[in-house]
Amino acid sequence: MNQPELVEQLQRGEASAFRKLVDEWQDMVYNTVVSIVQDPDDADDITQEVFVQVYQSVSSFKGESKFSTWLYRIALSKALDHEKKKRRKKRFGFVQSLFGGHEEEQLHPVDFDHPGVQLEKKEKAAVLFNALKQLPEKQRIAFTLHKLEGQGYQEIAEIMHTTLYAVESLMGRAKANLKKILDDYYHKNLADH
């Protein structure tokens, strides 16, 4: 089934279309979200939120962009909102822990293990994912979509509402920043050992 047809069925409120949508796009949404939030349980929850949002607002989808582009935007926006909430929680984590909250686990998350990374590269990938968290938001989105979702620069430009040149620039800066962060990390890590 092509995308416009699926969207039409969704807009008519057909339950079977919603099931098709979830079956077809769940991995794409989950992979995007888990690459940003770096927590499988949170990613599962956000993936559900994304599909609920799609179900509720599909009637407002005008078809000006591709459906997948629209879906990516919702997934990214939900994942980044979650990150912001988590950062706010972290800021007040100390106060919350004083009043019986169990925020310490969230404050010190373990290294993220992306399930799609080859076994022999897992250790290096965990270091890279930690470095990714330190990138500015736009660079992080561009890098995630390109490297982890396999999107081309043109698609990323459409998803991010920007130009091809801007995406190339974002990717260049993302790689340079990551190189610097990783270099600092290994300098410190090798000096400690």
Binding site: R19, Y30, V52, F99, K121, L128, K175, L182, D183, L190
Partner: protein, 114 residues
């Protein structure tokens, strides 16, 4: 290989570690969990507000605010009382000290007569 070359190599390997990565797959039965979530009744604004107010942080912050307001009121009242007491005392002291009406023995005797 010197230290910097070793670090450069590790950095490069880390950067390339996600090349050829497979897409992470969603947990099983996502659709079932999703429909269960959508069928769950949504909470009203009052329920959300109630849960927010019942949070320990909010309760403690509220109590602290009430205690702080009470303390401020007590401190201000004490200041006002002591300053008003001083004023009354000062008002009484002035005529006593500078009074030009002198009680004489004659006045006292007259007052004591039945």
């Amino acid at each position: 290989m010197n230290n910097q070359e070793h670090i450069d190599k590790m950095t490069e390997e880390a950067l390339n570690s996600v090349d050829g990565v497979q897409r992470a797959t969603a947990k099983p039965y996502l659709f079932t969990r999703l429909t269960a979530r959508m069928e769950r009744p949504t909470e009203s604004a009052w329920e959300n507000a109630g849960r927010f107010i019942a949070r320990p942080v909010v309760v403690v912050a509220g109590l602290c605010t009430v205690i702080a307001i009470n303390a401020l009121i007590i401190v201000f009242n004490n200041n006002n009382t002591s300053s008003s007491n001083n004023t009354v005392a000062e008002q009484q002291a002035t005529p006593d000290e500078f009074s030009n009406t002198v009680a004489t023995l004659y006045d006292i005797e007259n007052n004591n007569e039945p």
